[in-house]
Symmetry: C2
Subunit: 556 residues, 2 copies
């Protein structure tokens, strides 16, 4: 329960704490709420069959009249991906930088709701205002262009939310993180800092994106055939560097993969990506040029089975087949959980005759997040009164709190929150004060939230030992078996080799039904439960497996 | 097909190439075969419900009379774990070092076959002989004590198989890798080198195990409460270092976890582990000592849900509860695929109030495998005529081949094999010559090989979208529906919230049955297939999911 204190400033993370992804934070003062970001999460391995996860925004819906807008820090899925689902329930204006909004637009178009939504572009250094808040966008560096931190002026003081960021002194697009602005704010008393914790376990600095460009150019210089580079479609600066290396070595560039084609198109149109028109070719035309004059930039750096690079590797791509002499560069790091998929993809590419370069062999990727020294810089410039680490698993938040303590901050002023917990602030105080409802809404196909724990538990159980259905038709009047019991299995044993086992199982069921009939037990539930128990024990003793047993009694 | 060449030396890997684990290699000359190692593999994430994987040894069974023995390089699961299953089919003598055989013994005991098996201890530097082969054990360093490489003398020349190894100049047990012996063999013409490729992607050297001891002692010195260290039970040297740090700081040692208790027991008895009797205490007695006088060494460093550390973290351990002030050290690296489990475990320990140290924060683990510089040393000492990289995914084998080439080896003399491929050798030649049957046998509960691709495909399908069973009872004579159709689902949708969907689905089935009856279609198969199709389309259009649809017709 949230305490009913009045006129207090509240920070309410509805996602992104104790987890990677699903970032969304409500900032409330009196009768106004602004929401920062609206990201999606990816299902963990226990969420069988689930496509996506979005935040539970019950709290915002219950305070619908208070919510003034969504303010976006940048255009990554974990910061904007839930918008199409959430705006359908809560249609408020959305503010963000140009590229961020373009990416949002294309999502809203896919969901057919663009025309109903209000998107307003904000430039870095600009400010938007509501009655209680003013929100200033401050440029940062990240693995997507147009990323911003937010300085939010409230009646109690200034809150700085870094968004995802790093410090790159030599950024590709020349757009430096506005360190001076953070420094200036730091001299004016910042009430609360919320800062990105993703890389807090890494010492030192994140290497400049520019270094990757140098390495790519070197690798391109020895490539004898085509160069195929896989990276994240949203990493415009990386793509620019791949383009630069290609043009330097006289290679034309083609894009492959739905999101790569879409985003590169947007980025070229908006001027975020510089690629002379005559140097861009269609995938359909790659065979019209010599191999050593072609670069293909593609999706699939995470080994996603349906993405372009996997289709290329496993010979399922209509236009691209691996040839001996192709150089494939995987310009990305594995997102935890994808290691095995990527490993298999690399093996397959090697087997097909390509050379493959990946991050364990050469430095062809850098992170978009600040390491320890960059975080220290940010803390030191901003000197906030209170600190709340965000964007990370619990252990990252914990390490980030420790880093702040080691910089001299009072541990009493550092707050590690969980998703749904509320931090109340005034000019001089901060304290945790209760919880609001929060959590994960699972999306499976068209279903939003219709798959719950029971369904997931069954899916897990089915995936382990399969299912065994027992059907029997019983005449209600005479209380006799008319047909069956028949046993049908899926995912349990290979039937052809297990005929004996299933015959024995059928006998067990018959005996169980006979027993019930003798005892005149006529409650189907009891008969079903007896069948389940006896058959379950029999099968476990024989196979050490526990399939789901589904007894069905058809009565006539 | 294997060519019918006579008197040729053949190397036949039956596992371990293009994969991590399941190591087993047959070496054949004329009428003799010796098999090196007999390991198990762990199921990949597509092998739903599978417990273990063992190699397909059809080739050995078909040449049963030729097989003279198993020779083991060391006692890790991926080198000895399949023995209990394989020896039941092919009972030949097993040779290995003392600790290796003790670990095998305890496995054979669990499978109740120890008394039928012949285990013979070999000491490092000793040799065993068959008619055609003599096999010399040469000490190496690895993350388990008593690891050996093998020098196999054959009529065509000497083969060296490194087993898993690294070069540690300051090993904890004082038992150095016998570099001199490899150097000596190198001066006497080695025909073929088979060498560990696991860490070939890593530059430089693997840090000495001793460094970990120094770090542990430093960490112990600031620990205020209990120290709980999780590591691999078989890493005796690591456990010795944890013991040393404990004794140095006046802490008693307790072991937790089934394999940890078992293996530490064996190691103490055999003298591989030095721990004064009065310093070893039972887990039952830990509460009789002050917290800062206790070290607990436990299993579960991979986040395995049933292992001791997970049970401790999630408050399911009968004897150990996390207290504020506990220091938990995870002295291991994540095996690929376990990252998320471990990450969740660390979060949970932090939340319960423990300090947690893991490899991203401090150097508390080193690998047991040789990095590039160590591999270069081995190649340079041994100077083989032919080289075959082993123990690794395809990309590791490929990189290892490249490393050998860079050392000046002729690429014609390097052979990357797949599991099941045959390498034929003579004094002056080597070439790939066909294949033998090979593969993975999946173990699920008591079932060995009874789960095949169809069952796995169904389990995967069930795990994604669940199952929907449609039952209807039909009177054969009158060709009319007596009962049903009834629809029961598992893992598809939460029924209470989807009543309408399932009602509509029932209507679809009724219509489909009516259609068949009108058309006088009396083949159950046709009716079932029509139900499947119509219902499948309906459900996909409504939910974008494709559950397994199981139509059952009961006829009377």
């Amino acid at each position: 329960m949230v305490t009913k204190s009045k006129n207090k400033l509240k920070i309410i993370p509805l996602g992104g704490l104790g987890e990677i992804g699903k970032n969304i934070t409500a900032i409330e003062y009196d009768d106004e709420i602004i929401a920062i970001d609206c990201g999606l999460g990816f299902p963990d391995e226990e969420m069988y069959g689930i496509d996506l996860v979005i935040p539970d925004i019950t709290y915002l819906l219950n305070n619908r009249e208070k919510v003034k807008c969504f303010v976006l820090t940048h255009g990554h899925e974990d910061h904007i991906g839930a918008l199409p689902y959430i705006l359908k329930q809560l249609n408020v204006p959305v503010y963000g930088t140009k590229l961020t909004l373009e990416l949002v637009k294309s999502k809203l178009e896919e969901h057919n709701i663009l025309s109903n939504c209000t998107l307003s572009e904000v430039k870095p250094d600009e400010e938007i205002k509501t009655e209680k808040f003013s929100i200033e966008f401050i440029r940062t560096c990240h693995s997507i262009a147009d990323a911003c931190a937010l300085a939010i002026r409230t009646p109690e003081g200034v809150i700085i939310h870094t968004g995802d960021f790093k410090v790159d002194y030599t950024p590709i697009d020349g757009e430096m993180i506005n360190l001076q602005r953070f420094a200036k704010l730091g001299t004016q008393k910042v009430l609360l800092l919320m800062a990105d914790s993703t890389n807090v376990e890494r010492s030192g600095y994140t290497v400049s994106e520019r270094v990757i460009g140098e390495n790519l150019t070197r690798l391109f210089s020895v490539a004898k055939g085509r160069v195929i580079v896989a990276t994240f479609a949203s990493n415009i600066n990386r793509i620019q560097q791949i383009i630069n290396s290609s043009l330097f070595h006289g290679r034309k560039v083609a894009f492959s993969g739905r999101s790569m084609e879409k985003i590169s198109n947007i980025a070229i149109e908006l001027g975020y990506l510089q690629l002379p028109e005559d140097q861009l070719i269609s995938i359909d035309d790659i065979n019209r040029y010599p191999s050593n004059k072609i670069t293909i930039i593609t999706t699939g750096s995470q080994g996603e089975p349906m993405a372009a690079l996997s289709r290329i590797a496993y010979s399922n791509h209509k236009k691209i087949t691996i040839e001996r002499g192709d150089l494939v560069i995987i310009s990305a790091s594995p997102i935890p959980g994808n290691e095995k998929l990527i490993s298999r993809l690399i093996d397959e590419l090697f087997k097909k005759g390509a050379e493959v370069i990946y991050n364990s062999l050469e430095e062809v990727h850098v992170s978009g997040h600040a390491c320890q020294e960059e975080l220290k810089l940010m803390h030191t410039l901003i000197k906030p009164k209170f600190f709340m680490p965000v964007h990370g698993e619990y252990r990252h938040l914990r390490q980030h709190a420790l880093l702040a303590e080691n910089l001299g901050m009072d541990s009493q002023n550092i707050f590690i929150l969980e998703t749904g917990q509320v931090l109340e602030l005034s000019k001089n105080s901060a304290n945790k004060s209760g919880r609001v409802s929060s959590g994960s809404i699972m999306i499976d196909g068209f279903g939003i939230g219709d798959v719950g724990n029971i369904v997931l538990r069954d899916r897990k159980h089915l995936s382990q030992d399969g299912i065994l259905t027992v059907v029997v038709t019983i005449d209600k009047a005479s209380f006799s078996v008319l047909s069956g019991p028949d046993i049908i299995t899926r995912g349990f044993v290979y039937v052809k080799e297990s005929g004996d086992l299933l015959n024995e199982a059928t006998e067990i069921v018959k005996i169980e039904i006979d027993k019930c009939m003798e005892k005149k037990i006529k409650e189907w539930l009891v008969i079903k439960s007896n069948i389940k128990y006896s058959l379950g024990e029999f099968l476990y003793n024989k196979t050490k497996r526990r399939p789901i047993i589904l007894p069905i009694i058809m009565e006539i």
